[in-house]
Structure formats: structure tokens, C-alpha cells
């Protein structure tokens, strides 16, 4: 291989890599977000039932949002961990929830036990199937959640 043909190859390879590096994000960008697995509103499998110990809250991530799975003697409930006060992420505090930002507290059923939050934690639609927990869209019908809070889940 001559020096000149080597340089031509080198330029060609660098050029091809550069073009691919631009094309890849552009093509991914054009793909509709709904077609991406794990996108909002799609049913996601958060794990086998045995990974959620009875009587405990287990933190999970659902569609990039923090949530907690509660196992009450085989009854599974999935709470959002996003605080209804100003949108911080609640910490799991034993079998209840506590917000580190402004001290809001929620009971094991998601009801406010200490302000400043006024609205309960919403739950996700969920069901068990073949020993796994499937989680669907969030249920925001139980309280009059403000627009910014609903926006956290869209």
C-alpha cells in the first residue's frame, strides 16, 4: 500500500465514521417516541413477584419515573414516588413515604399524614401475570392533580 492510497483510505474511513455519527442520532430522533419500548403509557414488566418482599415498599423505576411497589400479603400496589407538593422524589420511610424537600409525609396507603402536601400519592394500574408484576399507566383520577403534576407523567 502506498502512502497516498493509505491516506485516501484513512480520509474515507474518518469521513464514513463522521457521517455515521451524525446519521445515527438523526435517525433515532425521527423514530416516533411511542415506538420505543418503555415509553410512557406502555405496559412495563417491573420484575418477578419474589423481588417484592411482603410488608415492604420496594423502589422501582417506571418509564424513567421513581415509584415504589407495596406488597401487602400478596396484594401489590404501585405508588408514584413523586411528591404531590412540588415534585421532589419521596423517600421510602419504613412502610410509609417521606419527602426530603419539605417534610411531607404519606401513609402506607398514600394518604397525606403531614403537610405541606395536600393531595395523596397516585398509584399505577398494575396486575400480576405469570409470576411477574406488570405496570400500566398512572391513575390520576383520585384527586384533582394540578397540570404540572400530570405533566410529570406524560
Amino acid at each position: 500500500m502506498t502512502r497516498s492510497s493509505f491516506l485516501k483510505w484513512l480520509i474515507g474511513i474518518v469521513g464514513a465514521v463522521s457521517v455515521a455519527g451524525i446519521l445515527y442520532p438523526v435517525l433515532r430522533f425521527l423514530k416516533p417516541p411511542a415506538a420505543v419500548s418503555g415509553a410512557i403509557g406502555q405496559v412495563v414488566n417491573v420484575g418477578v413477584l419474589s423481588s417484592f418482599p411482603a410488608g415492604q415498599l420496594t423502589a422501582v423505576i417506571i418509564n424513567d419515573k421513581p415509584a415504589a411497589v407495596q406488597n401487602l400479603n400478596g396484594k401489590y400496589t404501585v405508588y408514584s414516588l413523586i411528591c404531590t407538593h412540588l415534585g421532589c422524589v419521596n423517600a421510602i420511610d419504613g412502610d410509609a413515604f417521606k419527602c426530603p424537600c419539605h417534610g411531607s409525609q404519606f401513609s402506607p396507603t398514600g394518604v397525606v399524614t403531614h403537610g405541606p402536601a395536600k393531595l395523596p400519592l397516585p398509584t399505577y394500574h398494575s396486575q400480576t401475570q405469570n409470576g411477574a408484576l406488570l405496570v400500566g399507566p398512572i391513575d390520576l383520577s383520585h384527586a384533582a392533580y394540578p397540570a404540572w403534576y400530570k405533566g410529570e407523567f406524560t
Partner: protein
């Protein structure tokens, strides 16, 4: 038709030797562009212009191309209605893959382009490059600066958040203080007395249709004149 339709002149042996092989050569051969291309390739950059301060205009052009490409991509998902605008921008930044990346490039390039166009103007001013015979190019440059700022002003409203709303309120209020035509300017920009859905529609139209058409025409004139005049002499 007054266009010459006869066959291109047969190439002489020396021309044939110059012709490039391959696809580029084939196209150049069909269009008879050798002379034009050669003229473009053989321009010598004067030594005093091999300085980074002579790059600002070119950088501004690169930024414009980046902005056009990313802007076309953002328009795929952006919805210019008051109900959907803010949410669609949020979706671009959070749900669309690489959407945050494309939007960030657009945002940062926009700020950089305003800066670079302005610095380019300073370079032209302080090297005296606006002097005869280049006055016309200076004037198109002034128009290009104003249009670049127009892009910035109209693009700022599109996310339809509080900052956008109030910036547009203040900006259009200022337009309203122009003597005689002020009120006409204000209602023309806002599409009414108040900022509303009509304002968003008008700003979107300006941002993606009107201003791009004007800036492309002016840029072509700007570059044609640079080629016509050549790079200005040294101080």
C-alpha cells in the same frame, strides 16, 4: 429562448488531461463547468487574511447551516399552538430520542450565531472592509445582523413558557413605541392587541418560513459580492 443549445465544444487533449475521473468528472464534463470550478479552486487567500479574525463570518455560516438542519428536525415534533407548544417542547427534550441533544444544539448555536455575526461585523468595521467598493456588502451585512436577531426574537417565543411570553410582551411593546407606525407594528406582530394564539402562529411563520427565505437570498448576495470584490486589502 436565447440560451445556447448547441453541443458543448469538443474537448482538446490538454482539457481532457485536466478532467477529473469518476462521478464528479462526469458531472463537470456534462455541465462544462471546468472554468468556473477552476476559478473557484485557484483563489489565493492573501497572507494578511490568514488570521482567525477573518473566520468569524464563515463560522456564522456554519452555525446557520447547523441551525437550519436542527430546526428542520425540531419542526418534526414542535406544535405551534398554545395548548400543545410547551408540552411538545417538553416532549422533545424528555421523550424523543436525542431530542434534548438536537434542541440543545439549536439553542446554543442560535446564541453563538448572534455573537459571531456581531463579532464579524466588528472585524469588518475595524479592518475598514466596508469601504468603497464594498458598501453594498456592508449594507446586506447589516440586514443579515437584523434578521439574525429577528430569528432569535421569534424563536424565543416558541417554547411558550413564562419567560417567552414576557420577553415577547416587552419586545412587542417596544415595537409599539415607534412613532406613527408603532401601533400597526404591534398589532401586526401580535396578531391582535394581546399576545395570543395568533402571536404564536405569526412568530412561528416568521421563524421557519419568512426569515429563512430572506436570509438565504441575502446570504447568496453577500457571498456573490465577496467573490466579486475579493478579500479586502490589509490595513
Amino acid at each position: 429562448m436565447s440560451v445556447a443549445t448547441g453541443p458543448l465544444p469538443e474537448q482538446t487533449p490538454s482539457e481532457a488531461k485536466r478532467r477529473k475521473p469518476g462521478l464528479v468528472g462526469w458531472v463537470v464534463n456534462r455541465l462544462g463547468m471546468d472554468d468556473i470550478m477552476e476559478d473557484q479552486y485557484n483563489r489565493v487567500v492573501p497572507f494578511h487574511a490568514t488570521n482567525y479574525i477573518y473566520c468569524f463570518g464563515g463560522i456564522a455560516l456554519v452555525l446557520f447551516i447547523i441551525l437550519a438542519a436542527t430546526g428542520i428536525m425540531l419542526a418534526v415534533y414542535y406544535q405551534p399552538t398554545p395548548d400543545a407548544a410547551y408540552q411538545s417542547v417538553l416532549d422533545i427534550s424528555t421523550h424523543v430520542q436525542f431530542g434534548w441533544w438536537i434542541r440543545s444544539i439549536h439553542r446554543w448555536s442560535a446564541g453563538a450565531m448572534v455573537l459571531l455575526v456581531f463579532v464579524h461585523m466588528l472585524r469588518v468595521f475595524f479592518t475598514g472592509a466596508y469601504k468603497k467598493p464594498r458598501e453594498l456588502n456592508w449594507l446586506t451585512g447589516v440586514a443579515l445582523l437584523l434578521i439574525t436577531m429577528g430569528f432569535g426574537f421569534t424563536g424565543y417565543l416558541l417554547p411558550w413558557d413564562q419567560k417567552a411570553y414576557w420577553a415577547t410582551k416587552v419586545g412587542t411593546d417596544i415595537a409599539g413605541t415607534v412613532p406613527v407606525f408603532g401601533h400597526f407594528l404591534l398589532v401586526s406582530l401580535r396578531g391582535g392587541e394581546q399576545i395570543s394564539a395568533a402571536t404564536l402562529g405569526r412568530f412561528y411563520d416568521l421563524h421557519v418560513l419568512v426569515l429563512p427565505a430572506i436570509i438565504i437570498i441575502l446570504l447568496l448576495g453577500h457571498f456573490f459580492m465577496i467573490r466579486r470584490h475579493g478579500i479586502s486589502g490589509r490595513l
